[in-house]
Subunit: 361 residues, 2 copies
């Protein structure tokens, strides 16, 4: 099949590297093309508002998918009139607005932090009073990697946050006293089969994912089951096809949903090396109507994001059980330029990778 | 780095799929370009005798490698004057002529079947007398997948074989009463480090590899050590860089070398799915001067070649622990169009894959 991907970054790159062995070809559409998918298929640049150009892009494709959740819903809807678009455009609608998303979670009985919508500085102050301080204030739309959010503890900070976040509609969230951040990655096929990868435990630095451990250590079966149930509810409600990620807080032995991503997810990159079938291959299997592959881990793994600068790959590659994945991008501060997977990590190897990865930043 | 590959088939495809995540780009040169590497790099078609065109191809490359062993030695030598060519061109010289190859093995103390060179029909008869019948008669050059060889038991068959093989220089080999065919795949880096994958056990049908099991079952440590020693002798003698495969007969608990391939090898395809670092990634690591990756198997695996027709990938993908690898080629009788890897094979799953793969042929 010919698979059209909206977006052209590293997720598109890894989707193509997983799909080419299955006999598929790829085409990428993006507002600004990333070098990550250079050489892996046709590439077309244009605004996502240009529906005619998007239609021309989709015409020779058998199926359309996307690798970032800020694809305009109008674009996805226009394409869905022509070709199958997976995951379904409704997943975009839900995930693009943090208030809609949390209301959606609650409608399914999934716990979320307490929250309020705020459309003005006055709303924001009112929400602070109701939820108590400190709160996390986020733009309803377009935030990622810790951008578009602020922690607010006073009326003064609230006024400043309203200005700094651009005087746009916000969500105000009560702070959840969580013990750690987890994510669950699941996949659902066109015939409604679903599988869920082992939970990942995620450590962020400066708002960007730094390290994911899969499976998450010391996760009791009850917690795993709760995560599976959360994923299953979302997949079924949306008649979802493809890979879905849900970011979760573990708080007092229970899970609280933070946000979902209707796509392959950074916390699942280790599945390339540790799983029988990676999240990328399973996404491709799902959207092309193939049976899903096994989500079983063959070995525990830790993934480290490579951010800003490429570390010494010679030293990294010399460590046993290390796999290096570079994205073909020019290094730039804060940019994800690759990731490192360490299989069956010993404390010593993990320390060595951590030093090399952090040393480069 | 930019890696120039002589040849453009499925081995080139899998080298590119392993090298792209390491940040490399690829270019392919072939007399007739195969669709297998379409979309994975620049592609240039021309005869291997056109040294000027080959030089132009190599000019922007950082290193040159090859994916088939019949690259003319003159072409490799001309390129080696410009750029590093790995594996070293001498490996091509040795492996292109079955007599030179067996003399080379013997010079290193590696057992081979008894053999004679035959440059005429008379030589052939004389060799038959000396070695006894039946014998295997092969062209000295250009044979592969059982082509260019015949089994000869009488003077009449000898005369017919001489005609049918094209009246070209031959090698006559005594039949080895082997219990099974094994192969050893090893890799050596630019600084002389070497690693050896677990032995593979290979089953052929109609002269073409049908199935490889890795690790080879019931292989005593002494046999494994003997295979490692054979690989090490060849690697060191040739100051080899890259992946080398040696096909072996197991006969009476000892190993007899049949032939070597100075490249990634069909019997190592399962390493994509079962090894920490695949033969393809380790070849790329070696020729680009990186430290080698781990050759440890994370699970036993069986690889099945897909020959002629693509089987029902839906049914195959529905089996647990199956990975499908297609090469993007048009199906044609006798053509290798893909392979299937089955991890941690149960007898039941292996039977199901075998049926599906053979049913398609």
């Amino acid at each position: 099949m010919k698979i059209g991907v909206l977006g052209s970054g590293q997720l598109g790159r890894m989707l193509a590297l997983a799909g080419i062995p299955l006999g598929h070809t790829f085409a990428f559409y993006d507002a600004v093309l990333s070098p990550s998918t250079r050489g892996l298929g046709e590439r077309c640049s244009g605004p996502f508002s240009d529906i005619a150009q998007l239609r021309a892009f989709a015409a020779p494709c058998d199926v359309i998918t996307y690798e970032f959740e800020n694809v305009p819903c109008q674009a996805a809807a226009a394409l869905a009139a022509l070709k199958p678009v997976y995951p379904p455009p409704r997943a975009l609608e839900v995930s693009q607005d943090r208030v809609v998303e949390k209301e959606f979670f609650r409608s399914l009985g999934i716990s979320t932090p307490a929250f309020r919508a705020a459309s003005s500085a006055e709303d924001l102050l009112l929400a602070l009073q109701e939820l108590g301080t400190p709160c996390i204030v986020k733009t309803r739309r377009m935030g990622y990697d810790g951008k578009g959010q602020a922690r607010v503890s006073s009326r003064e900070e609230a006024a400043r946050a309203w200005e700094e976040l651009g005087s746009v509609p916000l969500i105000v969230e009560a702070l959840v006293p969580f013990s750690r951040e987890l994510s669950v990655i699941a996949v659902r096929s066109t015939d409604g089969q679903a599988r869920t990868y082992p939970l990942a435990c995620n450590i962020h630095r400066s708002g960007i994912l730094h390290r994911s451990e899969i499976p998450a250590p010391r996760a009791p079966q009850k917690l795993i089951q709760e995560a599976h149930d959360i994923a299953a509810k979302i997949l079924n409600e949306l008649s979802y096809v493809g890979v879905l990620a849900v970011e979760l807080f573990e708080a007092g032995g229970r899970l609280v949903a933070n946000e979902m991503a209707p796509r392959v997810h950074n916390s699942g990159h280790a599945t390339i090396d540790c799983s029988v079938t990676s999240q990328f291959e399973n996404h491709i299997r799902a959207i092309t109507g193939m049976p899903l592959g096994s989500v079983v881990s063959r070995a525990p793994a830790v993934m480290y994001n490579v951010i800003g600068t490429v570390p010494d790959t010679q030293q990294l590659a010399a460590l046993p059980n290390v796999t290096v994945h570079l994205y073909g991008k020019e290094p730039r501060p804060g940019r994800k330029v690759g990731h490192i997977t360490l299989l069956s990590p010993s404390a010593e190897d993990a320390g060595a990778v951590e030093l090399l990865v952090r040393g480069a930043q």
